[in-house]
Symmetry: D2
Subunit: 362 residues, 4 copies
């Protein structure tokens, strides 16, 4: 069972609400002797952290991560994992004692206010409680550990579409991703997105986005058919991120329009190794990694926290209107990039351990 | 852990290879006293069964399902579930003693031949072994039981795109789905697809497709955030189907291009009940059902079993070519419709039981 | 979740009723390339099989096991596992069309008739249905595969107490176990048990027993604290066997009466290796194997199927009496020996794979 | 998978080391709207807390529990669960900056020092790190919540044997349990134990103990055969407690010496309800609760932390001796009583939810 946990052998359990004392996670099953420090994790926390540019929410959370367990000094004095559960805690500090009367009893359209109340009969309405995207801070922290486990594995994400504005793939430059506030790999697209997002932001509106995550350095053979396929677990992990409405691997939905001859990746020997001549499969065949880049993409819907008044009802059964005031992201997809990276890293590492268990090392 | 099992409380474990003695599944956790018979299951088996029209593979498998356990006569003599595991077995009969020398040592592009061998060091090459889409027969059998558990739940699927030919949603007619060999809800589209697929079939080529599955009669409140979200589990289940490369819920990838005002479904009271004025969310908010139709879509890549010679390598490290002769589907997406329905049914029922466990009945 | 499955990485799911068409199991997660055949499994089936001596039930079941999946010829033509799920099926043949009117509506004391009906609202009363010890045939089949996975692992069981008659541990001789119909390692005790059990059998009574299972050849380091401790999983596996009412490891309940100095196993170096000077711990410290013999013991209650009339009630709420006629075991503990071995083998192998996953091979 | 988690639907994950910053747990799957406060949990923490009498370790830990998530005010202002994960944290305060040179490199006999190092290649030697019984504080905290979920369920534990001194069951008085420092239900036995344990304590020795846990108010029908039997899960949960070497249910190991007629609990109708005339089964038949008291017993070995020098080796491969100085329990079994209660409560509640999921409410 898994309400608030995921992973087979590297198992992450998250806890915490947006405006409670703290949130965090327990990472269980991590191999021992992996060097890790709060500083290394913080680097990734800062990428996801709100308030980094005018294009993300101005809520000011330092998102400082504390390691509560599972790490100890090795013989050389370096901090390493011990194989026991690693609890990572992030205290909430910017919980303004806010007036919640506007949202306490009303269901915000596009939010989970209605469904949480229907399900549980109670909801923590402060900042969205458990439904808040603040929960994803715990994922990023866990992902920072995952990045260090598989030798040669590299996980990189990028924003490839904002609103209806796609990047030009011919311009793709990974170095560009760190040079603009959008994690955009195409400098020309970034230049278009900036005024577009400024307009969205100023008008109190929002837009959706598509994120691509690419993992390389993954050995062939990872993935556990039939029901823990690598692509299945990636789809599950990415779809679990707040506001995600779709996931695809490799050619994805475009595969519908391809012929079998176009879509299947041919093979040839090169330097004594089998190689693929293309990667429509996104690095996964039959649920198992091919050794190529693993390519996934997910769509994030536009945030529903906007300044336009919207029709809704309240919990007493009255028609009413609502405006979501306050600090919000014009495009939550931007901050979803490091989150997607973290989830992809966790999934691949999980399968690395799973494969090693069933097969032994080769 | 779940190599070959899925589900939280209604748990399905499948077994079997394409050309072994039998395949099947164990359905565990089914509530007792659900009336079920082999005949009822067979109805759905026949929808997925190959050889139903010239547009699906001509392999002749009766796909006769046998119930080995978990069902007994109630006091009235009706066959019902007993709450113990239900084993469903389908014997393989059309295992022509075929010449496998063409595929035994070569990796078919777009198939999992290479990855299975890389992972396991051995593979059952007869008909694809465990990678074969024959495994999905077990899913359909399990799904036939799932359909009977949640009162009022109805699961319907349709093919909405073949190659680049989409349906016109204004023509949508559920009754039409049973009138053509494509599970197509749009009679005009079906008329276009027929010659298109004949052309594909005769040229030994193949094309991809998009399937939509709609579940109605689902109460609000099902789904278990954060890591067993209803949409997450749907994505996982649908992505586990052979050849699926993408999954989306509600507006899906189109949500990227919408504004927050367009995308968020507004609410109003109607006859004393809260209703939604649209369904971009696809019936799921924050991972929990809203009570609306649950709408999912998945893309099936074109089968790689085609008559055009393709470049590949063999397991000895030689460059070679391959043609996949024999009986194949020009568009495997057609037969994916009942499979997608089965998976959606299993996921929703699983969450129905899970919800009832945590919450009790209301 | 696990109604009818157990194990973390080597996962066994069983199905089937005593008098249905077949019972069996799916073994999932088995490493590939393990040589296995129906004949090898049958050896262990025959040890558990009823009707082997006058001290076990005379029900005549050949218990012939069929492999339905997961096994294929390797390059040398030897049958080996492929890493995919192995379905093992045992058809029920001795399902005499018996008169069930005596037990159909009455609750046999000491049996699960009452609790199954209370839980499920229905029960398959033929031979006890799913509650029958016939289910353990599937465990023995799965265990036969498990025995082949860990190099050097050896699993041996013995009956160490029948009724109140214990063995003398000074007489322990493993070779003796195969020379008497009781799996007794003490020839003198066996000589006492024979007339004792004849008396029990002839008087239509029954007695309990204690079984000891010893696993050697297990490397130090297996076990996953805190909640998948090796001893915990052994306790769980052994307690899941029908009629088991207690489990202990090493010194077990006798540890209550020992002092800390007596109980703790001291260590010394020998030939450059750390060794223990005793084994009160039963080969497990902190839930992790020490490298010594793993020693577990479990108690099997006397079967409640006896010829003495007993007071009970029927499902209509009437007081009544019942005699269990038919073919039964005077001491079900005898046939529990190969079952206990199978469960211990499965648990240790599961932890071997789990350890290998988290740690890699050393 | 479950390294540091247990439970099917009510799932507890613990984290933390003896001398790290904090330990605690995440309780996931708790039904919403259960009233709970830190004060209520603290009552049970205090029962387990060290330093309560001269018979338990003098380590001074306040064991103050903090609720980090999952609890919110209901409409009346009362603190209740929300259905989201509840994180309970206990900060470690008495982590004397101690000299660990004595135990840093030596393996304490009877402790898990050797096995943790063998497994992980590193161990946190401060106070035993993760192997420390301090971890059980998290279990007691989780158990305090579990006690509130099943209406009418009552969980009570008692010490029934210390060293070789058993209680006289004819003297059993539950009220007596709170009147002596041993949780002993027999005043006469307690009077014997006091000087006995004083002697043990003063001589720097230790002794084992047996604890009995009784749960009443449990409806018939809980338990999930075959592999999540109620007794199996109890055995697993109790065996996971540090230093436990055996578990039994009902008549337990004594069942070996009973006849089938003696052991099977007969039934009669009383006031229109079926009742049992005895309870050798310990309230569980076929893995399912009968509605009677659920009776379990477990043995705790004598702590190996004693003042007598013991032979051991160090991690460099040298023979050496060790004395465990410092603050320890002469009989750790005493403090195991509230821990056993907590584990039993968690198991029964888990099955209550599981049953409700599969069956619905009746």
């Amino acid at each position: 069972m898994s309400y608030n946990s995921f992973g087979h052998m590297l198992r992450v359990t998250t806890f915490g609400e947006s405006h409670g004392p703290a949130l965090g996670c327990v990472v269980d099953g991590c191999p021992p002797l992996i060097p890790i420090s709060e500083e290394e994790i913080q680097v990734f926390m800062d990428k996801r952290r709100p308030g980094q540019s005018r294009f993300t929410t101005q809520r000011r959370e330092p998102d400082t991560v504390k390691i509560l367990s599972g790490v100890f000094d090795d013989d050389t004095g370096q901090q390493v994992t011990t194989g026991t559960p690693i609890c990572l805690m992030i205290e909430n500090v910017d919980q303004r004692s806010k007036d919640y009367s506007q949202i306490k009893d009303k269901f915000r359209p596009g939010h989970a206010d209605f469904t949480y109340l229907k399900k549980y009969g109670i909801r923590d309405y402060r900042g969205g409680g458990r439904q808040s995207a603040r929960e994803t801070a715990a994922r990023v922290a866990a992902g920072a550990i995952a990045r260090k486990i598989v030798p040669d594995m590299r996980v990189r994400g990028a924003l490839v579409q904002v609103g209806e504005h796609e990047i030009d793939r011919d311009n793709w430059d990974w170095d560009e991703v760190d040079r603009n506030p959008f994690f955009c790999p195409d400098a020309e697209a970034a230049a278009v997105w900036e005024p577009y997002l400024d307009h969205i932001r100023k008008s109190g509106s929002s837009c959706g986005a598509i994120i691509e995550v690419v993992v390389d350095g993954v050995p062939a053979g990872l993935g556990a058919p039939i029901y823990a396929k690598l692509d299945q677990d990636l789809a599950s992990a990415l779809m679990s991120i707040n506001a995600v409405k779709g996931v695809e691997i490799g050619a994805g939905f475009k595969a519908a329009g391809l012929s079998g001859a176009e879509n299947a990746d041919e093979m040839r020997m090169e330097d004594g190794q089998p190689i693929f001549l293309s990667n429509h499969a996104g690095g996964i065949l039959g649920g198992i990694s091919t050794g190529q880049e693993i390519i996934s993409r997910f769509v994030v819907k536009p945030t529903s926290s906007i300044l336009t008044p919207r029709q809704t009802v309240d919990k007493f059964g009255n028609d009413t209107d609502i405006i979501t005031k306050g600090r919000h992201d014009p495009c939550v997809g931007i901050r979803a990039v490091p989150i997607g990276e973290a989830m992809a890293a966790l999934v691949v590492v999980d399968h690395y351990l799973l494969h090693r268990g069933q097969m032994g090392e080769k």
